[in-house]
């Protein structure tokens, strides 16, 4: 069986080279694309994103990706959002009030409240606490840590049940799976063997490759 091909959206929201190589290392073929052309032919769509929610969303819209990605999501095509690429699956974000996210998962992305013992952004390695059964985490040995860099988070009370929580003052979704939607707040491409293990599981359990 040939390696499944994922479309990695290179729409100007950060450097995607590390993500591309990590996906390849996990046995996927990567097609970098800045446009929606041919998205429907990919085994999966990977949405990266770094920076401000508003800028990322504007770049996403400017590339004409909103409707095609929504259509792909509704057609059941596997989607993997990473970092801000996870957050934009939500309805919106406290970082940019009024800027519409993709609303594939209902809820608002929230900002961490800084505290003397809790410096924001959260930057570093934190533990994953598996919940339910996400194909991204199936059989992943614990304790497993992943690398985070973020000031905003997907709160625990959004309507998903499968994934992993991480605690940084509050518990939040570090990763989730909801039907064909998958996402990680951490950077799998920076998370060493754990990150590779999670991308391998995306290929194996989600793309069946």
């Amino acid at each position: 069986m040939s390696a499944p091909e994922v479309a990695l959206l290179d729409y100007g929201a950060g450097n995607v080279r590390s993500a591309a190589r990590a996906l390849e290392r996990a046995g996927m073929r990567v097609r970098l694309t800045a446009t929606p052309d041919g998205l429907e032919n990919a085994a999966g769509i990977v949405i990266p994103g770094q920076g401000h929610f508003r800028q990322v969303m504007e770049a996403f819209d400017a590339a004409g990706l909103r409707d095609p990605v929504l259509a792909a999501a509704r057609a059941g095509q596997p989607i993997l959002g990473i970092c801000v690429g996870m957050q934009l699956l939500l309805t919106g974000s406290e970082e940019a009030p009024g800027v519409p996210g993709l609303d594939l998962v209902s809820g608002q992305v929230r900002r961490f409240t800084p505290a003397p013992e809790r410096k924001v952004p959260q930057m570093g390695w934190n533990a994953l606490e598996p919940r339910g059964d996400s194909p991204l985490l199936r059989g992943l040995p614990t304790p497993a840590h992943a690398y985070f860099v973020h000031s905003y988070y997907v709160p625990e009370d959004v309507p998903v049940t499968d994934g992993a929580l991480t605690t940084f003052g509050v518990p939040f979704w570090a990763a989730f799976s909801a039907g064909n939607l998958h996402a990680t707040q951490f950077h799998p491409e920076k998370s060493g063997a754990v990150g590779l293990g999670i991308l391998n599981r995306f290929r194996q359990h989600v793309l069946n490759g």
Binding site: N15, R17, S18, A20, R21, A22, R25, Q50, G51, H52, P114, P116, R118, K119, P121, Q122, M123, G124, W125, N126, A127, P141, P143, A144, H145, Y147, F148, V149, S151, T167, F168, P188, E189, K190, S191, G192, A193, V194, G195, L196, G197
Partner: protein, 259 residues
């Protein structure tokens, strides 16, 4: 719980890691940044810092190649520093694949560089590195520049808090009195900076033994510890330091294997 980070640092000149890295003498090429980065990835170091000590234009472009290679081949966070003077340097190195950029003298020359970089690329990728030295016979520490050769007279705590206000996301503090002594990190200076700012503080300079790491992460109140020679010379390994810290009750990322 967010874990404390252990960060090896490598000096690069003209695209090659310099100083004899004894630990890796068995490898084919002990000066190859990618080989060394991979070895530290196997050790599950939490991040890696490459410090470019090149003075020439050609050397700078070789550093960009290093960043590209390491960022593409090694799945760990990568910081690059050395000779960062302009927003262009940030852009080039971030585009090459670095996750964070460490700025030192360039920010002393023009502090607004911190704000510009932070506004453009986010505070999380702006690491303000500070070389400090205790005031002769006096209280506190002053900031040095140009690889520590010039005393700016600037107060360490003032500069650290100003750096945070300008938008730095992290401070890497190298106390020169301790650097290279292997007599331990400077706990007083590190704690003073940690208490003065709300952003993470990486302690650098002076690591010699396991207890030094514990002391700087507890008494020194640092969020991370950076070291060069103790790791390169194989006197300590990253897993050894982490196992020790875990036994001492500190939160660290344990070694992880798929099976």
């Amino acid at each position: 719980m967010l874990t404390r980070r252990i960060i090896p640092c490598l000096d690069v000149q003209n695209g090659r890691v310099v100083k004899n890295v004894r630990f890796f003498e068995d490898h084919r090429d002990a000066g190859d940044p990618l080989t060394l980065a991979r070895a530290y990835e196997v050790q599950q170091a939490d991040e890696l810092v490459f410090y470019d000590i090149t003075a020439t234009h050609e050397g700078r472009s070789l550093m960009l190649d290093v960043a590209v290679q390491v960022a593409e081949q090694v799945m760990m966070p990568l910081t690059i520093g050395g000779g960062i003077n302009a927003l262009t340097d940030f852009r080039q190195l971030l585009h090459a694949g670095a996750d964070k950029i460490s700025v030192n003298s360039g920010a002393l020359t023009r502090p607004e560089l911190i704000r510009e970089a932070s506004d453009h690329y986010g505070a999380q990728c702006v690491m303000l590195s500070i070389d400090a030295k205790r005031r002769p016979g006096g209280e506190g520490w002053t900031v040095h520049r140009a690889g520590g050769r010039v005393d700016t007279g600037l107060d360490l705590i003032e500069w650290a808090t100003r750096g945070q206000a300008l938008g730095a996301g992290e401070i890497c503090l190298n106390v020169m009195d301790a650097d290279g002594t292997r007599a331990g990190f400077d706990l007083h200076a590190t704690r003073a900076v940690s208490r003065a700012v709300d952003i993470p503080v990486i302690a650098s300079g002076g690591a010699g033994k396991l207890q030094d790491f514990r002391d700087v992460l507890t008494t020194g109140e640092a969020d991370a510890a950076l070291a060069a020679s103790v790791f390169h010379f194989g006197e300590l390994t990253v897993p050894q330091v982490k196992a020790y810290l875990a036994a001492e009750g500190l939160p660290v990322r344990p070694e992880w294997r798929e099976q």
